[in-house]
């Protein structure tokens, strides 16, 4: 089948003469083929297979985030070539290609100019190692016809490993491995997570350009790896948005000519034709990077991803609904297990575990004018110091498909670029750590923050974080103006006292156990879970957030009555803001149990845990008040 794809694309022009509708038909054909069961898994993925194992001009897929959108470009949709020997004119098709055949007749009247746009795509930022792992394995199972066999995959990773080892690694920790990998995938999963952990801290402080020697691939998060890709989009340009996560099926183009064109410049040509010199070297580097590093992908078809959890069926088909309904039965039991697990992790604090669970399934499901609904930023205060938060993050990372830990040390806040900024010299959007895919878990570690002076960029960064939490938006810096991009990011703040950032809900952690060796304690808890168990949790968390939710008129009435009653007793104690929060808690609580409507019980439960939480915060306040 693969070879056939290649064939078809070598000579599409043959059809182009007679039938102008062939383009639509080709697309239809591919979409039809890909819709067939499992067929999409035959297509090798750029995420998993190193570029040099992929055949040029073959069909590949790429799971990615649209990081930047370049200007639309005009290309020769149809052009005519003249054979120098026979003088025969042949019509050819320029679609899905970067380079024309030789001998183009530029004055031909048959030339058709068409429009396409280039997106700069990067792998989904902060994708957890386990998600990469599983998607790789599931793909590898069914790729019989690639020249790239999984057994060689290890080799390639090892090569990479060696490369990485030449970089200075500051904080190699003894305990990095062993967080929940089963023996069968341990060898290189281990290495991967190790890389993540060891690299992240060291490169956070430096510019991302250091990651890949001379060429800045513009990954949103420091220490990211993986191919960036220039995706040429032909259809439905308006349907794509910045920061969309897509699975793109397209034709890979790595023609070395693309690179040569950029570098080989005839100075005399430059003098006469400044058209070509209008691009600055920076711009050229950003827009025409060597194809060996940044391959081109001509999009046939793209599927927007609702989530990137490889354990869930990705397309909303009958497949999925069957999956959902079968899982709904288990939901309550999985929830109980997960709660128990989180309670252990949070040192025996059941309430905090409950809130953490609700936080993990929260999701901005809609917006009312400027107000995002459904967000649930959690501030976990009273966290023990000394690497507890780091461990906690690792556990969260094991559960969600996308996450990032931002250690809010003074230095990072002052030096790191959080907000993407338009670089007009290179004409591209320089990414920042807040350019994240939807439903990414952002773990803000405030315990790392020390006293000291924030400079102006630090203040800007803190403001950006505040805006993100309050309005779920990031104002990208376009230097002459700012542009607002809505986002949907789950923010978890861990802090000692109350966080300096706003949050929807603050839970002071009340440890029930004080293990003498925290690391050992957490590792033991973690090791005690089977992979199958962890996988269940992963499915659970991703699934719960996608469920629909409604509330009946009857319950609406009850909630209203309840609110009025509460205010009657003590108007100060319950405000509109509290009602906002309780409604969100009630929603999340119901969803976490797999219930898609709010019941009276659900409401009472939500009220109850919110009461518990509030009494705890009050208690904390009075405790602090008593301190000298």
């Amino acid at each position: 089948m693969r070879m056939w794809f290649v064939c078809r694309f070598c000579c599409p022009a043959a059809q182009s003469n007679s039938n102008p509708e062939w383009e639509a038909k080709v697309l239809e054909y591919f979409k039809g083929q890909l819709r067939e069961k499992e067929s999409h898994s035959w297509v090798p993925s750029l995420n998993d297979v190193p570029l040099h194992y992929l055949k040029p001009n073959s069909l590949v897929k790429f799971r990615c985030l649209v990081q930047d959108m370049f200007d639309p470009e005009f290309y020769m949709g149809v052009y005519e070539t003249v054979d120098p020997s026979t003088k025969a004119n042949v019509l050819r098709c320029g679609k899905y290609k970067d380079v024309t055949e030789c001998g183009v007749d530029l004055n031909s009247r048959n030339t058709v100019t068409a429009e396409r746009q280039t997106f700069y795509c990067v792998p989904i930022p902060g994708e957890s190692p386990w998600a990469k792992e599983i998607s790789f394995l599931s793909a590898a199972r069914v790729v019989p016809s690639t020249s790239y066999v999984p057994s060689r995959q290890k080799r390639s990773y090892e090569e990479d490993d060696d490369d990485m080892d030449t970089q200075p690694q500051k904080q190699r920790e003894p305990h990095t491995g062993g967080m929940g990998e089963t023996p069968q995938i341990q060898p290189h999963g281990n290495g991967d997570s190790k890389r993540q952990e060891t690299e992240a801290p060291s490169s956070q402080t430096t510019a991302p350009s250091d990651c890949s020697s001379h060429l800045d691939l513009n990954f949103p998060l420091p220490g990211e790896r993986g191919p960036a890709c220039l995706v040429k989009v032909y259809e439905g340009l308006d349907s794509f948005k910045l920061n969309d996560t897509l699975e793109i099926y397209g034709i890979l183009s790595v023609n070395p000519v693309l690179t040569v064109l950029g570098e080989e410049k005839d100075p005399s040509l430059l003098l006469l034709n400044p058209t070509e010199s209008m691009e600055t070297p920076e711009e050229q580097r950003a827009h025409d990077p060597p194809a060996s590093l940044v391959p081109r992908l001509h999009m046939l078809y793209a599927r927007p991803l609702q989530h990137n959890n490889p354990l869930l069926p990705s397309a909303p088909t009958e497949d999925q609904s069957a999956f959902v309904s079968s899982f709904l039965v288990e939901m309550a039991s999985v929830r109980a297990e997960l709660l128990a697990y989180l309670t252990h992790v949070l040192l025996g604090d059941g309430l905090a575990a409950e809130y953490l669970l609700l936080h993990l399934i929260s999701n901005v499901y809609t917006r009312r004018d400027v107000l995002p609904l459904g967000k649930f930023t959690l501030n976990l205060s009273g966290c023990p110091l000394n690497s507890y938060t780091e461990r906690l993050y690792q556990i969260v990372q094991q559960l969600v498909p996308c996450s990032y830990r931002l250690s809010m040390s003074l230095h990072t806040m002052n030096s790191m670029r959080l907000v993407p900024k338009k670089d007009y010299v290179a004409n591209r959007l320089v990414s920042g750590a807040l350019q994240l895919a939807r439903n990414t878990s952002l773990f803000l570690d405030e315990t790392q923050l020390e006293q000291g002076q924030l400079d102006s960029s630090g203040v800007r960064n803190i403001t950006a974080l505040g805006n993100l939490i309050s309005w779920q938006k990031v104002d990208y810096d376009f230097s002459y103006h700012q542009m607002e991009f809505p986002c949907n990011i789950n923010v978890l703040v861990t802090s000692e006292g109350r966080s300096l950032l706003p949050s929807d809900c603050q839970v002071p952690l009340q440890p029930q156990v004080t293990p003498p060796n925290m690391e050992e304690y957490l590792t033991t808890i973690h090791m005690a879970q089977f992979t199958s168990q962890i996988n269940k949790f992963r499915v659970y968390l991703s699934l719960a957030r996608t469920l629909d939710y409604s509330i009946s008129d009857e319950v609406t009435k009850a909630v209203e009555d309840d609110f009025v009653d509460m205010r009657k007793d003590d108007p100060q104690s319950v405000t509109a803001e509290d009602l906002h929060r309780m409604l969100v808690v009630a929603r999340l609580l119901s969803l976490s149990l797999g219930q898609t409507t709010l019941s009276r019980d659900g409401w009472m439960r939500a009220k109850h845990i919110d009461m518990l939480r509030r009494s705890r915060t009050e208690q904390q306040k009075s405790l602090n008040g008593n301190e000298p």
Partner: protein, 808 residues
């Protein structure tokens, strides 16, 4: 005639006619053919005489130097000498420029007719200021050219369209051919009229405002080689690029020289010297070659044109000759030009090439959209084009009797109740009428309404601010905590590349003609707040920094939100005491609202219902209930642009009465309850309300509503908690009249007490305090005591040093 003229490739159809024809009919060729006109070699000086021939033509690289299209007969006969010459006579109607349907003669005639006859009595463009609108517009402009001597004629395409739709179509579709024809027509006309004028070069026509394209995003391959107008913002300009137009070659052997024109970006180097027949003896002499100026400009689409969630597009624009350096980065401009797509150069060493075209726009005309803003004229630069239907919808909405309530409820529907506050903000969005009294020395009157919201934390003040910020096109949002005086005003920065000093404007200047939303107003440092004094009354910002002294316009409305100093609003204290802001600043707010938690059951129930609905209502239901945000936006933009209400007689009377009433209230109790500032506020609010109704007259109902709203705001913010009366002096002097009276009483009592003690030159501070407390029937706090002491010290009655009080 120079021979080289004949051999230019652009004149293919004349080549065959041979030099003889041309020599015989030089003037005809000169005058009639657009192909002739403006080609580089025609710059070669002709015989000096006045008129068209005497004034050198100037090349127009903006139209492209490649003009290889010959005229062809409609019957597509090969162009012959007869045909070409005859074209000027009998066959004139049949001949068109190759590849187009443009006939030079007709086109020229039409355009001349347009110039001579076009009258636009309704024109309100600033270019036409001072022209007689009932006379042919462009003839007046030609006259202007003859006086001023600037040989450029700007032609509004919409004028051409209304005059002759077909001509307009041709202009848009074939600008490269039609504009030279226009040039020729203008020059003939001009030199006929003003035969003695001397111009630097021939007049060039610069069309603008082509209606075809307005948005950069909508450019597509069909627009290539057509004339377009797009708007955008300049983000980068290049250095000047000298572009060779004509290469000068000299033979190294016999010193024979020849000129070669650029053809499609290339120079064909002559291999053989025509004089001495030596091969490869010709060398390029740079300083005798002709160059034209060129500049690359990058333009980014303006943020308003973009669909949400996408990044802005950029386009490359080339400016030529005198348009170079006309724009700076940051300028918002309208560009009219020809859209070009150039194939990537074929490299002879490579067999296959990238199949991508490079696109750019050759600019013909720039129009800065924010230029007027700098001159401080009116705001129609923001003019948004409304379609007929849209205007109809808006007018329909305006004619509804309850439009005011409708609009106010459409404002931030997610925020519950606070009807009056929303109404206040709505009036702020519309603003008053701008009045200019600079003739009489009073300067501009503030037309913007400023509003302060104070109240308990968590009463969705920030949300309201965010909403407003998102609603208005030129809105800015800052937080008092995070902004410095510099961030609000402007600062001077040195450009790292050019070493040029650049003025970077801050939030207040950026929101000129918009709304500046300032959250956490109370957290702002005093120095920052002080810059607001000027902005909020004079509507300007003065800057004196790094050698730059200037006054910028900051005609911005301020919408601020402040929290009480204590965590909760204390109803026993006045507004000033609660938020601890200087009264000088407070008095500059037209309306001060309190957003308090009302704490009653009916309210709670409605609030709960509203919130629950907010969470669980479906999109459709919401939309049914409320006005679309886009409609609201357009409504406001339309009213701000087109409606300028004036007071009518009744309304003036009503305002006077209202003001007199307000002053009366206080006079009974011996205090001033209204100041001229309040009257100004009332006028502004009334005007804004008239704008809401799309009415050109401020009527009594507007005044009534202004009064009501003003009173409502005062009731909330200026009620003296001790007496329960509304007391404007709380806002204007920071202290209520009763409080002042009380202060006086205490001071007098203290004085009396000291006097009764007889001649004691010095007293203990604490003892005096205790004595006073014992003597007075009302409780006296230490603050009051100290204030009394200070008052007496001011009277030079006593002085306080440390813990002792001395009499003087």
């Amino acid at each position: 005639m120079d021979r080289s003229k004949i051999s230019t490739p652009t004149l293919r159809c004349f080549v065959e006619t041979g030099p003889d024809h041309l020599c015989i009919l030089p003037s005809e060729v000169d005058m009639s053919s657009p192909l002739m006109y403006g080609t580089p070699s025609s710059r070669v000086e002709g015989t000096p005489r006045s008129g068209v021939g005497g004034t050198p033509a100037r090349q127009r690289p903006d139209l492209g130097s490649i003009r290889k299209a010959p005229q062809v007969d409609l019957h597509s006969e090969p162009p012959s000498a007869d045909g070409a010459v005859a074209s000027e006579q009998a066959l004139g109607q049949k001949l068109v420029i190759w590849g187009t349907d443009v006939n030079v003669g007709t086109c020229k005639e039409k355009f001349q007719r347009f110039l001579q006859r076009f009258i636009d009595p309704t024109s309100n463009e600033d270019e036409n200021a001072g022209l007689d609108l009932n006379e042919p517009l462009y003839m007046q402009k030609l006259e202007e050219i003859s006086v001023v001597g600037e040989p450029v004629l700007n032609v509004n395409c919409s004028h051409v369209q209304s005059f002759d739709a077909d001509l307009y179509r041709q202009l848009i579709s074939y600008p490269q051919e039609v504009i030279p024809t226009f040039d020729m027509a203008v020059n003939e006309l001009f030199f006929e009229r003003f035969p003695d004028s001397i111009l630097e070069h021939q007049i060039q026509v610069r069309p603008y405002n082509a209606l075809k394209t307005r948005n950069m995003r909508s450019l597509n391959p069909e627009d290539i080689d057509q004339m377009i107008t797009i708007s955008g913002m300049v983000i980068r300009t290049s250095q000047l690029i000298p572009e060779m137009q004509e290469a000068f070659f000299q033979c190294q052997v016999c010193a024979f020289s020849t000129c070669v024109e650029v053809d499609r970006g290339r120079i064909a180097e002559p291999a053989v010297c025509r004089n001495c027949n030596t091969t490869h003896s010709l060398a390029l002499i740079h300083n005798r070659s002709a160059f034209s100026d060129k500049q690359m400009i990058k333009v980014q689409e303006s943020p308003d044109d973009m669909p949400a969630g996408q990044t802005p597009h950029t386009t490359i624009v080339y400016a030529h000759n005198d348009l170079v350096d006309k724009v700076q980065p940051g300028d918002r401009i309208n560009i009219t030009g020809i859209y070009r797509a150039v194939p990537m150069r074929e490299n002879p060493r490579q067999s296959n090439v990238k199949s991508v075209y490079k696109t750019h726009i050759d600019v013909i005309h720039f129009r800065k959209t924010d230029e007027k803003r700098l001159h401080g004229l009116d705001e129609d630069s923001d003019q948004k084009l409304f379609t007929e239907e849209r205007v109809q919808i808006l007018k329909e909405l305006a004619s509804k009797p309850d439009v005011y309530d409708r609009l106010s409820s459409a404002l931030a529907p997610s925020i519950y109740e606070h009807e009056d506050i929303k109404k206040g903000i709505l009036l702020q969005l519309f603003g008053g009428t701008r009045k200019d009294f600079s003739q009489t020395g009073r300067g501009n009157f503030r037309a913007e309404v400023n509003i302060l919201l104070c109240g308990d934390p968590g009463t969705s003040k920030s949300q309201l601010l965010q909403y407003v910020f998102n609603l208005v096109p030129r809105g800015q949002y800052t937080s008092g905590k995070g902004s410095s005086a510099v961030g609000l005003t402007a600062y001077v920065m040195k450009d790292p590349e050019t070493k040029q000093l650049v003025l970077q404007t801050g939030a207040l200047v950026l929101s000129d003609n918009g709304i500046c939303c300032i959250d956490e107003f109370d957290k702002m440092s005093d120095s920052t707040r002080s810059v607001l004094h000027e902005v909020m009354e004079q509507q300007t910002l003065s800057i004196a920094k790094a050698g730059i002294i200037c006054q910028l316009n900051a005609r911005t409305s301020v919408l601020a939100a402040a929290n009480p100093v204590e965590s909760q609003w204390n109803p026993k204290k006045t507004t000033i005491e609660n938020i601890q802001l200087p009264h000088t600043l407070l008095s500059r707010f037209d309306l001060i609202f309190l957003m308090l938690d009302p704490q009653d059951e009916a309210y709670d129930r409605r609030l709960a219902h509203h919130l629950v609905a907010l969470y669980y209502q479906s999109e459709e239901q919401i939309e049914e209930e409320f006005l679309d945000m886009a409609v609201l936006k357009d409504y406001i933009a339309y009213a701000r642009t087109y409606i300028n209400p004036r007071l009518n007689e009744e309304a003036s009377q009503a305002l006077i009465e209202a003001y007199v009433d307000m002053r009366k209230i206080g006079s009974g109790r011996g205090m001033v309850s209204a100041y001229p500032r309040q009257l100004e506020s009332l006028i502004r609010l009334a005007e804004a309300h008239a704008k809401v109704r799309f009415s050109d007259k401020v009527e009594t109902i507007d005044v009534e509503e202004a009064k009501r709203l003003h009173r409502e705001a005062l009731k909330q913010s200026a009620t003296d908690p001790r007496t329960g009366f509304v007391d404007i002096s709380i806002i204007t002097t920071g202290m209520s009249a009763t409080a002042r009276k009380r202060k006086e009483e205490v001071a007098q009592a203290l004085k009396k007490m000291i006097q009764s003690k007889g001649k004691t030159p010095a007293m203990k501070y604490q003892q005096l305090f205790d004595d006073l407390r014992g003597q007075s029937e009302a409780a006296i706090t230490k603050d009051m005591f100290e204030e009394a002491l200070r008052a007496l010290a001011d009277e030079d009655y006593l002085t306080v040093t440390g813990k002792t009080v001395r009499l003087l």
